[in-house]
Symmetry: C2
Subunit: 343 residues, 2 copies
Amino acid sequence: MTDDVLLAQTTRHGIVESSHYGAAIVMDAHGKTVFAAGDCATPIFPRSTVKALQALPLLTEGAADRFKLPDAALALACASHQGEPEHISVASDMLTRTGFDYGVLECGTHWPLDATSTRALAATGQTPSALHNCCSGKHAGFICLACTTGQDVAHYVRPEHPVMQTIARTLQDVTGVPHTDANRAIDGCAIPTWAIPLSALALAYARFASGAGLSPDRAAAATRLRNAIASNPFMIAGTQQFDTLIMQELAPRVLTKMGAEGVMIVVLPEQGLGMAIKCRDGGVRAAETAAAALIARFAQIDNSPALTHFMRRPLKNWNGQVVGELRASSLLAQNFLPPEPMH
Amino acid sequence: MTDDVLLAQTTRHGIVESSHYGAAIVMDAHGKTVFAAGDCATPIFPRSTVKALQALPLLTEGAADRFKLPDAALALACASHQGEPEHISVASDMLTRTGFDYGVLECGTHWPLDATSTRALAATGQTPSALHNCCSGKHAGFICLACTTGQDVAHYVRPEHPVMQTIARTLQDVTGVPHTDANRAIDGCAIPTWAIPLSALALAYARFASGAGLSPDRAAAATRLRNAIASNPFMIAGTQQFDTLIMQELAPRVLTKMGAEGVMIVVLPEQGLGMAIKCRDGGVRAAETAAAALIARFAQIDNSPALTHFMRRPLKNWNGQVVGELRASSLLAQNFLPPEPMH
């Protein structure tokens, strides 16, 4: 903990209310550390931040071509979506192409993360299916992969299933960290998740940013996924979500992906940089704020409304009155921190 | 930050995923510190943890008697409720007794925090009113107070309104900390909130626990509020909420109240102790976990299913599979930490 640094703070009427600590690292594909702060060595669970890496086999194994997956589907395979109608439609279409329906998904079911979509579903007397699970696009991709490689789809979430073995090998190759039983746990959507150093996560996304350090087929897959994500930012998250708002404004120069428990990755293709952030307490809001600051700084963007908003986000009460702000630490933002919150 | 201590951690397959740091203090009404860890001196915003203190004037000024408020209403005045039908009914009844309806409330409107209640509302085509605001019981109490003391109810949330002046004086007296413009901010429900040291918050609730150090009328009011809360734990929060679950099992021996941004207070009347916890990052889950540990330790309770659950709370994925746990730090729990999580 003492190795960690201040990522972001909330203030109320100028008085600090809450403080988030953690680590952040920016790397290039050759393993050079461009910036590091906090404990970047202790393994962390990257959670949903590795989705774009988990999607590489969709392309390298030929599943995307076999099922003629459109870019929106490739983006949804990399997404933690909010269960909005557009997301459900694409996830459902992915499964239809394989001849399956949502009954094949083993990710579990929850109400849409988007409150409006949940209320709309309830208003029409419906209940959610596994398609509404924020990981349904990724899981639909696993089904496409299983069908392409001739595997039985049953129990595709288990570590011993060939689909998960392919995922594990891919993650191991791209991050350079062994993915074994020793560092394996179970993710929110039932598939394995492996704890790796934050530095390895940043390195993997530096490789993803440029293709450098990847095999030719994976480099080509990374290019195609970057393009799919950049042209479908809504698919990656949804209404009012950080990833979507940032990429709607800044893709393809900037790609981002949040993960549960305060993890965030950023891809800067023009600079060939990968970035990874872990808010130690699991606070997603702080990971977003820190990411905005480091994007501004390392992509040298000082005129982005979205970045400005997330670097100094106004906090409002139930009457819509601004009562404070969530602000990136000056250690991270340096002179890119806006002088005032943008209300 | 370096003064703070580990409150709670989440683990996934035994590997630490997230860590929460903060401060906790246990005091008696004479100002003796029974336990302290972390920075208990820097002012923090107590948020909703002071609701029982804000309710004292309801009794001392005669509003509860004038409007014959039942214990459920007194409890709701101290609550951050989830907007469930039972809460709405009591809040509505409080206002009816004054001749007003929800239109008088200035707390703002939001959908019920309880997801089932939100979906039920949406399913019947309704939208929420200010009654669904988690603070509507407290605000209904303010209306009762304004009517009793002959004040115009308009703008009752403003610092200069006589009702808020009464609240400020009460908080200042009971905590022993000046409540001025300098430490005042605006709370989520639009009324003032004042930053005070965590130690002052614990001291105030030690006084509330026993009446010691309070004027006779406030001591009597505290006794009546403790009884009202203890006999209505559902009113204080709602379905599956920490405060409700703990008090359904342990009241009147243990009273608890959460506040936004990771604050928690505990009242132990038998021991005459007050306790206050601030999770520095604002994490409510960690404040709950830490509170469970300190309750077990300082009330010497080693056979409570609710405390055991919250000291080592299993974390499940969307399939209901246990994938990790949220565990109190051993610094806080010591030998009261259960050997295994209770699944």
